[in-house]
Amino acid sequence: MANVNVLLVDDETTFVNVMEKRLKKRQVHVVTAFSGPEALQKLAENSTIEVVILDVKMPLMDGIETLSRIKKEHPLVEVIMLTAHATVESAIDGMKLGAFDYLMKPCEVEELIEKAETAAQQKRAQEEKIIEARMREITLRRA
């Protein structure tokens, strides 16, 4: 199946653990984190992460804040907000801050993977565009 590198962030450890197992079974590369700061640390350590699945409601640093930090530090990494609190407001806030999409708990693992794949594709497409642009720049400069 998919070949996506995912960082799963949620303070609910049981949920993270079972989801990790289910995703891994579906050939998704999963890294996990249980808080916002940990997620940022994992992102810094691992540059292969393409998509972050981020819980909105977490202690210390909530999903929205984490999202803004991620977008600041790793602009190309796509974020899918995962929320138990299906408020349109928080989802809109997330989208405004550059989240790719949002999912409501409980969700189907297939749905999650599908969204993650789409996000990853978008990330790759953007990366390609950036590379193309850079190449063009370089060739133009050389010419």
Partner: protein, 577 residues
Amino acid sequence: MKTTIKSQPHDSAFYHALTRKMVIIMVLVSFTPLLLISGLILEQYNRSYREKVHAHLGELVEKHCQNIDGFLTEHLNLLRFLVNSHPFEQFRDETFLEIKLAQLQLQFHGVFEDLGVVDDQGVQIDYAGPFKLMQANYKNADWFKKAIISPYFISDVFLGLRALPHFIIAVRQEYKGRVWILRATVDFRAFNTLVENLRIGETGFAFILNKAEEFQTKPPLGFFTEKDHYALFLNDTATEKQRVKIFEKKNAAGKENLYVGAFLKNGDWLLIYQQNTADAYRDLNHARKVALLIILIGGIVIITTAIWIARRMVARIASADREKNMMNKQVIETGKLAAIGELAAGIAHEINNPVAIMMEKAGWIQDLLEEEDLKDCQNLTEFQNSLEEIRNQARRCKVITHKLLSFARKTDSRPQPVQLNDLLEEVVGLSEQRAKYAGVSFHKKFFANLSTIEASPTEMQQVFLNLINNALDAMDNKGGSIEISTRQHKDHVTVAVADTGPGMPAANLEKIFQPFFTTKPVGKGTGLGLAICYGIIKKIGGHIEVESEIGKGTTFYLHFPVEKTVQPENIQQIQGE
């Protein structure tokens, strides 16, 4: 709790007490100055009027005294002139005396009754007059004793030898070493008339007393003599100096009288003028009666006005209290709804996390089952079905919590564009469970391109939840259906909520929007639901109607003005494009 107690409607006893208090205060405030001022004025007027009456009567009595004194002096002087202008011998001539008497009677209209010459032994040696008093001996008469020792003398009234009331004016003269007296009798009636002339009002009259308190003139008929009172004048030495003294006292019959006294005839006689005070102060009493009548009428007017104003004000207060009470209830209801919303949001969030875990765990078991070699497992299908069912139920939980969350989202009471179709869908969703247990089914007939209205979503939810709950209550366990339909009109949208309940009698229909009207059992309904609906709909410029038929059901029609910026035509145009 406190606010609930405070906001409870006051009972009628409270408003009665309030009315009473207001009436008392208003009456006191108006009456106190009125009574004080009128009392003061009346008292002042009373005093000055009395003073005026006293002064007037005093002057009158004084003048009368002067008149009487003048009368006596005049007659005395006549006699003195007579005595001085003729020699004693002439008086010895009886004819001369008769001529003089006739002259005097002619001149003074018979005031003088007779004339007599009395020698120093008290023997009347000459006499002219109607009585046969020639040679009458006055030696022992009181008047003679006094007359012989003074140059002239006026006696008190007495009966004398003739047995008729009269008094004597005597002038002493000397002739050849012996004294003699010219004596004249004054007709009592003439004198009496002079005194009686002083008559004022109905009860005012005058009379003369001597120092022995004997009447010198005839008091009128039916007259009470009050010697005690007259003694006050006689014993009061100051009276002589002042000449006129006035006092008021009750007589034996219990009537208050005004007494004016003045001495005359060198203090020998006392002229007393006596009048009933009621008569003397007739004008004052009349004025007082008029004033009392005015105060009485004014008082009645004040009291009536006070009662009227107090009643009106209290009625206003009561209605304001009722309104305030209703508002409070409404605020509480809205607050409750908001609290429920917050609670729902919290619960939904807390539940979604464990549900998500349950769902994932079930999914994980399904994943694992696929890996295992379970061809021999007889219950594999059962396992798989159960796991799928767990996942289904988890999804159902999700639907429920999301409905709750969307309800909680709308606790904001600020007006905003509301799409009634969506809102009704949510409200129906919330009530579906209850409807299922009550055996009631929902039928929705929504107009597809319904205009939005400007309203608070929370309040709209409250309105429709109230109507649906009422409908469900009405059909209580008997089952039925609720039809909710929306219709688009030119400038308004209409929502109809129709149930197949028992319906309402016309008498109740008139009252259902009144606060605290309820047909539900005690403790079940506040009687505020429809009143609040009515208030909310009125507030946003809509109106509510109700139709009901016994045995068929009840339909509520709610008309809302559409949002002004977006007209239905525009919507259709936009959608057409």
